[in-house]
């Protein structure tokens, strides 16, 4: 069991977003979290990452409650891609990615050459290796997002938590990043939990889906059990049609 929640409750102010969430994610699974704006997707993600304490119940990683993990050991198990980031200082792209190696040797002052290799490989995987010496503040939104994902890869963890990884990416990079994540799950048995708004893209790579209603209700299960037109229409408050195209499913919102 990679990550699991037990009677998890999430509240923001007086609103209950998620109630009694009992949810298990196993090695090699790729989950998409789907729901409307404000349904609690990011709140759930931040709770899974340990950035926010649950309002009830608990989250455990490999059978051990998150709060019982030392932060550094936890950082070698799971990586988190935040929804947005602000760059205040003129760090270079390579420095940004190298900082993700922090949990592996917090005791030493400098990184070693292995870290440099890993960082460069991650940059190459995201096709941003030519930007290595650029100031991160001069990158475009999509380039910055790919650098952030490269940092996530350099952290080299079993569990990847991604809040809208496809944000700001152009079409080609959406497809290649999603393909890479799916490959990590399939071939290296990594576990991915991500948030995305593109249902077709999510359906293409996920093995499972978790739907959030935003009033406490939720639904989790294998992709094809959960991502059905009537269910999605209810959870997203908009009628949705599914069109088959070869082996793929295309999700089309009906016109108003």
């Amino acid at each position: 069991m990679m990550i699991a929640t037990e009677r998890l409750q999430l509240r923001v102010g007086a609103r209950t977003l998620v109630e009694n969430l009992d949810w298990q994610v196993r090695d090699g699974e790729c989950w998409s979290i789907i729901g409307r704006n404000g349904a609690g997707k990011s709140t759930l993600m931040r709770t899974l990452a340990g950035l926010r304490a649950p309002d009830g119940g608990q989250v455990s990683l490999q059978g051990r409650p998150l709060s019982a993990w030392p932060l550094e050991a936890l950082a070698r198990q799971r990586a988190f891609l935040a929804q947005s980031r602000s760059d205040a200082f003129a760090y270079t792209v390579i420095e940004t990615v190298l900082s993700a190696r922090h949990p592996y040797h917090a005791g030493s002052y400098w990184e070693n050459s292995d870290d440099h290799h890993i960082a460069l490989r991650s940059l190459a995987a995201m096709e941003v290796d030519d930007l290595a010496n650029r100031d991160v503040r001069t990158l475009s939104g999509g380039e910055r997002q790919r650098v952030a994902i490269a940092a996530l890869l350099a952290q080299d963890t079993q569990l990847l938590l991604l809040d809208e990884p496809a944000n700001a990416l152009d079409l080609a990079h959406q497809v290649s990043v999603m393909g890479l994540l799916a490959k990590l799950c399939r071939e290296r048995r990594k576990t991915v939990v991500m948030i995305g708004h593109d249902l077709s893209l999510a359906h293409g790579i996920s093995t499972h889906a978790l739907l959030l209603m935003g009033d406490g209700r939720w639904l989790a299960g294998p992709r094809d059990d959960v991502m059905q037109a009537p269910i999605l229409s209810e959870y997203l408050h908009h009628p949705i049609d599914i069109v088959r195209h070869g082996s793929r499913s295309i999700f089309i919102p009906r016109e108003a």
């Binding site: 988190f80 390579i94 900082s99 922090h102």
Partner: protein, 340 residues
Amino acid sequence: MHPTSANPRSRAAIIVAGLLLACVGSVLFAGMTGSVSIPLADMPGALDELLHRRADSLAATLLDLRASRALSAFVTGAALSLAGVMMQALLRNPLADPYVLGLSSGSAVGALAAMMAACAAWAVDAAAFAGAVIISMLLYFLARRDLRSGSAAEGGTALLLLTGVILSSAGSALVSLMLSVAGENELRGMVFWLIGDLSGAPLRAMPWLVLAAGLLFALRTARSMNVLALHAEAAATLGIRVGLLRKGLFFCSGLLTASAVTTAGSIGFVGLIVPHACRFAFGPDHRVLIPAATLAGGAYLVLADTLARTIIAPQQLPVGVITALVGTPVFLYQLHRLRK
């Protein structure tokens, strides 16, 4: 502009060695320069006399006076610059300076109140220190949410910054009040204190101890400061105890600032432009930035103070005038370059 690939270790060593030389050079220059300048040929002899604790010749006596003032300037500048680096990392804002949270106005209230009560010099220093400590404690109490373990605070350090700015303006109001009711003969000393002046600064051991402790903490957390500066709250997912680090930065920069203003009053701009210039020249990596900014801040204030006491000699200017006059155009230039 700053190569990262080659070997960061040797690059850092070269930078630090170069700046160390510049520091020694600036103190020697300060020792030689003044209304009576000591020729370079007399320096070895004078230094030798000083090291053997006897200052018989004129050169040695002058060097003794000037060098101790230069060393006070060095420790003050280094502390302010280091505090600036820490404050900028804490607030994730390269435009923050050690005074932004109101510590200097707190100590100004303390110092000026002691001057009005016609206290001795040591009591003025003690009151300045106490003022800074009281402001820090008030700030910690009011904004401790931002210094807790990042979990709840999504707004970063906005509460801390705003609380600091408000406390700072409350302090300024009290300072204005005291200036307007102060007697003529106290006024000059007060104004000099507010601008920042090293002429009366005694050479004490305390600021050096504070600087050493601050530097040790900063070097030990340099890696974590990089991660915090890059990722803010999300630094916790890379194994950083964000709350603990923020508290450490808050207290260390506060202590350094309090120690600096106690020595020399509120000298402006050093904590802002020196870290800024070092970031510009050597990059934002704190592992290089921390030692570089500390050394450069010290050397900068030594040179500024030498200029302050010689430029319209025999009259002496408060060093804060020089740092502000030099600092403003340098800062504007950097800002302009940055935004291009």
